[in-house]
Amino acid sequence: MWRYIIRRIFLQGIPVLLGFTFLLYLIITVAPGSPVTHLRGVPDLDTAVIAQREAQLGIDQPFLIQYGRWLGQILRLDLGLSFDSARRPVIDLIGERMPATIILSLSSIILGWGIGIPVGILSARYQYSVFDYIITFFAFVGISIPSFFFGLVLLYMFALTWNVLPAGGFFMAGEPHTFVGYIRYLLLPVLTLGLGSIASVARYMRSSLLEVLNEDYLRTARAKGLRENIVVYKHALRNALLPILTLMGFMLPTIFSGAVIVENIFTWPGLGSLAIQALNERNYPVIMGINLMFAVLIFLGSIIADVSYAFADPRIRYE
């Protein structure tokens, strides 16, 4: 068991994470323009001065050495200073914004799994019933409707027309953090972000349960006279839920991608809106930091999904 987890982290997780930092550094490096580009246009500036500046910044070194140096810095959690006038450490900026993104994503995951799983189970249990057709249709709608359009529709209805929920943000300055307040601010963004997960979880759950229902051991269970409800909800469901656990790891990147757009619509003070703001200011250290942060979050998420899978499925442990 522990061998499996350790292998999963060191042989799969760490190389992927390293590969990602390499890709990210490559993209930033091949970007047109360098920190000394503006110096090249200055008349009467000795090329020796430019070379000196390059040496100062370390950009006269070969790519791999630059990358190694940068990697060493981020391993010490030194993400550099932001480019804007405040010159704040990037790690602090990210730390401030991260809780809002985590709250938003976690709530959407809970909504998606909480509704998607029971709906998918019922849809499979009553396959080809009217309920099943309606759910199948709405699952298609859920995966096809763009979050930015769905978000605007919700905003239009609940915040602008009926005026029952705030149009965005997450607690005004000085507003007390009450439970009702959380619900009011979270409702629209979480519904927007969660709709897609509800739909895809319901679809996966349905097909996973249907696949299990055809297995031989279920025919045995029925043959020995068990009631259909016990066959489905006890014998079949336990096995059908296993693949859904791994789905968690797969869906995390999608959730975070969606969060960027949803935070943007509802002016949610998370990493996604920080990313857009930083991109508009060409604030590269912040962008790099956010990209890395998301990579680490996804890495942790997939490890958790895999470990819980290993706990749930005894077949994994003895491999």
Partner: protein
């Protein structure tokens, strides 16, 4: 008994799926409407007329006009051209990378497989949107950059799919026979094995077009995809985001939003119908 060809069987199975047929009809409608856009409207989608700003829908302007006095009906029609071409080109790019890498990984295995699939994991395990907006802002948003970014970031799914197919097919009798009579590896891979892996690839390409259209609209909505004044459904939605427009001028954001939703829905219906039609486990009572 008359022999029925394989493709005819597949087509018949596809036709039994009502949602798939509905999707196909809507999709064809969208394609025709955006191809023949100049014949359907007299307005230039990019021509602003400052005297006619913010007009509600009327006989003159079917969907009204936007805050620069441009005809929204015309912009919605021409927006279809952008969505469809970005969808098709980016899927073309991702397929050409994914097919080659997936085939090599599956056929040769060993080091090739490990390295290619680890690279695929790197792309796969990442929030697509964040990397896409980062690259787009560094290289500058444009329609071509959007196509390239979407293509390059989404190859791993077709590579994984094709790798699995190749692993399954490379030890079949016909593939071994081809190797035995001296066909070189690339001929075995692309002339003998690939045609047998075409159906799952087609399904994934169809669904890929839908998600590429969604991603383009999302990027443009964030201002990092197709830049204005070109009419893209995403940047039309972006332009309608100020709360006063959102609240009182729904004609500016409903048409592009509904267009994205309906085209993506119809492509998903078609893709799902294809998946079922190709599935040999589907029993056919003929």
């Amino acid at each position: 008994m008359k022999q029925i060809s394989q493709s005819k069987k597949i087509w018949r199975r596809f036709c039994r799926n009502k949602l798939a047929i509905l999707g196909l009809v809507i999709l064809i409608f969208f394609v025709l409407v955006s191809v023949f856009a100049p014949f359907l409207t007299n307005y230039d989608p990019n021509r602003s007329n400052l005297r006619n700003r913010n007009l509600p829908p009327s006989g003159d302007h079917l969907f009204g006009t936007d805050d620069m006095g441009r005809d929204i009906f015309a912009r919605t029609l021409y927006g279809g051209r952008i969505s469809l071409s970005v969808g098709l080109v980016s899927v073309g790019i991702s397929l050409s990378i994914g097919v080659v890498l997936g085939a090599v990984a599956g056929f040769f295995g060993g080091m090739f497989d490990t390295v290619i699939m680890r690279i695929a994991d790197v792309f796969y395990s990442f929030p697509f949107m964040i990397l896409a907006i980062t690259i787009s802002s560094i290289f500058g948003p444009s329609i071509y950059n959007t196509m390239i970014i979407l293509g390059i970031l989404s190859w791993p799914s077709s590579a994984r799919l094709l790798r699995a197919e190749f692993l399954k097919l490379k030890n079949t009798d016909f593939a071994l026979a081809a190797t035995t009579i001296g066909a070189n590896p690339s001929r075995v891979m692309f002339r003998h094995i690939l045609p047998n892996a075409i159906s799952p690839l087609l399904v994934s390409a169809t669904l890929g077009v839908a998600s590429a259209i969604l991603s383009e609209a999302g990027l443009s909505f964030l201002g990092l995809g197709v830049p204005p004044p070109a009419p893209s459904w995403g940047n039309m939605l972006n332009r309608a985001r100020p709360l006063h427009i959102l609240a009182s001028m729904p004609w500016m954001w409903l048409p592009p939003g509904i267009a994205i939703f309906v085209i993506v829905l119809s492509i998903n219906f078609v893709g799902d119908g294809l998946r079922d039609a190709f599935d040999p486990r589907q029993v056919m009572n003929e």
